[in-house]
């Protein structure tokens, strides 16, 4: 591996180089920056690299703007944006579950921008003030290990209560609400299924806790253990579940008859973005069929948010018969902090 020469490094440095102190600039002097902010843009992507990369490359082809991105999980990405609010390092927050964006809206880190496809999107796919817009939809699913089911003579769970079966004791993995949007969507799904009766919902979750092996840091953290048989099953976004299945792991995907929620995947413009215009162009493109028609060919198992784009047939067949319920994002956003703290106190630490 050869040592890169200076010209490669310069690449796509954003403009804020000039704000550094002497110390910073003397080091920066080693690494020449380039001008041309108009042709680059920085983003944190909550989508995995292998999803984001083809999208960004397509965008560059379409618009000539190069996107410099780094992948972080939803919690980390938002935490960064918040910590950096006085000196934003990125222009766009790309992908990631809606609850991350409602939280971000609460912390006032986004700038409103309504893309052209605004009017064509249903209400749950957009923030009323334009602070965020959906680019995809991602339902939750149950995913279980086939051999585990066979061994315990079970069928794939089709009800939330199926997961309470003693056979699953210590064999479920699902996301930790402190760090993962998946968990928050799951919790709000459970709340919705119990008609927002919090005590009932929490009673269920406490029972479920007995069967949980570990709450994972990231939403998809449990999929590999389930695929390997380390765990028997879990609750994940369909994207992660199908990814596991496509890799070759022997798993089953099923849905509870009581219904399960989905989370919109969104995009937003960061307040104070240094390349705001380029950022807006990315948002416009991502919320339009131009990007979303690329999901299917790239085997990205999100449901496109834009109504004009058809869901990939293979994906649609998996979803056939599933009851996807709607979660009131406004209510969820307003109560997120409180519900999570209650979950931490009563469910997480009860174990």
């Amino acid at each position: 591996m050869t040592f890169p020469d200076a010209s490669e490094i310069g690449g796509s440095k954003p403009r804020h180089l000039s704000r550094r102190t002497f110390v910073g600039s003397s080091l920066a002097a080693l690494l020449p920056g380039t001008a041309g902010a108009a042709s680059t843009l920085n983003a944190y992507s909550i989508w995995p690299e292998n999803y984001a990369r083809p999208m960004m490359e397509a965008f560059e082809k379409a618009s000539g703007i190069h996107v410099n991105f780094v992948r972080f999980s939803s919690g980390e990405a938002l935490a960064r944006v918040i910590a950096e609010r006085n000196n934003p390092q990125v222009d766009v927050l790309f992908g990631g579950p809606v609850e991350t964006f409602t939280a971000g809206r609460g912390k006032e880190v986004f700038d409103p921008h309504k893309p052209p496809s605004w009017s064509e999107l249903p209400a749950r796919f957009k923030d009323p003030d334009g602070q965020w817009t959906a680019i995809a939809d991602d339902p939750l699913v149950f995913m279980t290990n086939t051999q585990f089911l066979a061994r315990h003579d079970l069928h794939a769970p089709t009800s939330w209560d199926d997961l309470l079966d003693p056979a699953y004791k210590g064999m479920l993995q699902m996301a930790d609400a402190r760090t993962s949007g998946t968990a928050v969507t799951r919790i709000f799904s459970i709340l919705q299924v119990h008609d927002r009766n919090e005590d009932q919902a929490f009673a269920y979750m406490k029972k479920l806790r007995q069967n949980v092996q570990v709450y994972t840091k990231s939403g998809g953290g449990g999929t590999l253990p389930v695929g390997l048989g380390q765990a028997g099953g879990g609750i994940f976004f369909i994207v992660d579940a199908l990814f596991t299945k496509q890799k070759g792991y022997d798993v089953q995907i099923s849905f509870p008859k009581e219904g399960i929620g989905s989370a919109a995947e969104c995009i937003a413009l960061v307040k104070g973005a240094k390349n705001a215009d380029a950022g807006k162009k990315l948002i416009d493109w991502a919320t339009s069929p131009a990007m979303q028609s690329l999901f299917a060919p790239n085997k990205i198992n999100f449901i496109p948010a834009h109504p004009a784009v058809k869901t990939d047939p293979a994906l649609a067949s998996v979803l056939a018969g599933a009851k996807i319920i709607e979660i009131d994002e406004a209510w969820a956003g307003a109560n997120r902090q409180r519900i999570i703290e209650r979950w931490i106190a009563e469910v997480l630490n009860a174990g």
Binding site: R20, N50, N87, Q89, S180, G221, P225, Y249
Partner: protein, 564 residues
């Protein structure tokens, strides 16, 4: 004999302004990069609506979950230190006293090395796949059903495995330096082998054991990566909780407070260590040709038992890393065992920015850290001046603190005026240099203690000034310390995560952070491939440094570049 009672280094003549400038320069660096960030961290943590108050701290302490995390952290650290020190002592004793066959010695040296130069999570991931309900060892080998891998046992074992090489490195020279005369004398007075061991060898090793214990205690206290994977939800620990508070709850202040809860135990450990190590006698460079204690003093059966134990442990470590290599070379671990190079292809295409960034930063840090290490080492090790102890302590602060504290402090301090460094390489370089060069500082101080003052006086008497003496006489003699500093900074720069996870940015990203992200994205193959890459690079560079060091020093001045 040459140091008369009360002799002080007096800085007269042309040297003085240079020394003063040097001391002032070091202080400025320390204030900006050690004290200022901590002050900002304290300011942010103890802040309620703009008023300085201890309330957040008190709240945190009265929160039963945080108390539980604190208690767990302390207990975990104690267990890890106990287990790790014992393992390190076992290895060190075997290495020094049982006349190992060459092949076994090489195996032991190599396996000791691996955990030290590995990126985070390597042990933890291998544990998950070996000891879970379908683990390779628990299920496939031992036929256990429903074995649980998350929890105390795994976390203690994984951390002990990761850190015991530190104990080994600290104990081996100590055991080697216990003169066989002492044991011969005890033996001749009629003691049995065990009695001699108990009453002579062990007490002499006690300071070293205490030092190793504290080293491991501090390391475990600061470790957030292993518990992140292995602790499960029943074992909250502070560094992981602090990290989750910041990245999950977007609560920088809460995370800061939690990090600061770790400050007290870390400080106690730090001062305890200074107290113990300060009293130690270091072996001399040009000391007596310390012959190995004759192995006849170890009973045969014991010797074989020790060998067996060490080999078993070494084999287990090798197994863990073999698992890593295997994971990097198959399509999908556990599902598709087709061998493939695609993971490596991925890291060398998509992962190139991270590789580039990490190598650049590591290569910048190396000389900076090395030079800083010997300059400060010389200052505190040789000169007498007001505030010398203060400089020594302050320079060690970032090293002694858990990484989460340092990272959070840097994030808070350097994101706003007056000094804005976030998003640059400088913040990462600064973090590494001031956090990892104390290894070089301590090695320099240790080596300087072996250089008799009369050597410097001889140089003065022959007409050389302070600078010339440093360049011509001192520097060649502490060259091993310089290389040790280089090596330590490079290794850490390639493998660290706890502090710098908060400092990566859109412009600068690190391999270790990519590994974490890959783990959470379940791209196990690329994560393993990155890890293997890091290990190979680190091995290559440290071997190179070792070769350079041997080439540059006179025969009798040659400890390994890795002996810190």
């Amino acid at each position: 004999m040459s140091a008369a009672i009360g002799a002080r280094w007096q800085w007269r003549g042309a040297d003085r302004p240079l020394r003063l400038a040097l001391i002032a320069g070091i202080w400025i660096l320390l204030i900006v990069f050690v004290l200022y960030p901590l002050a900002r961290l304290f300011g942010r943590a103890f802040n309620e609506e703009g008023v300085f108050t201890f309330a957040p701290f008190v709240d945190a302490l009265s929160n039963p979950n945080h108390l539980r995390a604190l208690r767990n952290s302390l207990i975990l650290a104690t267990l890890v230190a106990a287990v790790g020190t014992s393992a390190g002592f076992l290895f060190a004793f075997t290495a020094e006293r049982t006349n190992l066959a060459g092949g076994i010695r090489r195996l032991l040296d190599f396996t000791i090395l691996l955990p030290l130069i590995s990126p985070p999570f390597t042990t933890s991931i291998a544990f998950v796949f070996s000891f879970g309900p379908r683990g390779l060892i628990t299920h496939d080998l031992l036929g256990m059903q429903d074995a649980q891998v998350y929890g105390w046992n795994s976390t203690v074992a994984a951390e002990a495995l990761t850190y015991f090489p530190l104990a080994f490195l600290a104990l081996r020279p100590l055991i080697a330096s216990i003169g066989s005369d002492l044991e011969d004398a005890a033996f001749s007075l009629g003691g049995s082998r065990w009695h001699v061991f108990r009453t002579v060898t062990l007490p002499l090793t006690l300071p070293g054991l205490a030092n190793a214990f504290l080293l491991l205690f501090a390391a475990s206290l600061a470790d957030f990566a292993t518990p992140l994977i292995l602790a499960g939800n029943g074992l909250p620990v502070l560094p992981t909780d602090a990290y989750l508070q910041i990245t999950g709850m977007f609560d920088l202040k809460g995370g800061a407070v939690l990090s600061l809860l770790l400050l007290a135990p870390a400080a106690i450990v730090f001062f305890a260590q200074r107290h113990i190590v300060g009293r130690r006698n270091y072996a001399t460079i040009t000391g007596k040709a310390g012959g190995r204690a004759p192995h006849r003093r170890i009973a045969s059966w014991l010797r074989y038992a020790l060998w067996l134990a060490c080999i078993a442990l070494a084999a287990f470590i090798v197994y863990l890393y073999a698992l890593l290599v295997y994971a990097s070379a198959v399509v999908a671990f556990g599902a598709d065992a087709t061998p493939t190079l695609s993971n490596y292809r991925v890291i060398f295409t998509e992962g190139i920015p991270a590789i580039k960034d990490t190598l650049i930063i590591a290569l910048i840090c190396m000389p900076l850290g090395g030079v800083y290490g010997i300059v400060v080492g010389y200052l505190v090790g040789r000169m007498r001046f007001a505030g010398r102890q203060a400089i020594e302590i302050v320079s060690m602060i970032n090293y002694a603190l858990p990484g989460t504290i340092v990272g959070a402090a840097y994030l808070i301090a350097f994101n706003d005026e007056p000094i804005v460094l976030t998003g640059t390489a400088s913040i990462i370089v600064a973090c590494y240099v001031f956090r990892y060069s104390p290894t070089g500082i301590r090695t320099t101080v240790a080596l300087l203690q072996q250089v008799d003052r009369s050597i410097e006086e001889a140089s003065f008497s022959l007409g050389a000034g302070g600078l010339a003496t440093f360049w011509r006489v001192i520097l060649p003699l502490i060259l091993p310390a310089f290389f040790a500093g280089l090596g330590a900074v490079f290794i850490r720069a390639m493998t660290a995560i706890t502090a710098t996870i908060f400092l990566v940015s859109i412009n600068w990203t690190l391999i270790t952070v990519r590994i974490l992200e890959n783990m959470t994205e379940l791209s196990l193959g690329p994560a393993a491939a990155f890890s293997v890459f890091v290990i190979v690079v680190v091995l290559a560079v440290t071997s190179l440094l070792d070769v350079l060091l041997r080439g540059m020093t006179a025969p009798e001045l040659r400890p390994s570049a890795l002996e810190t």
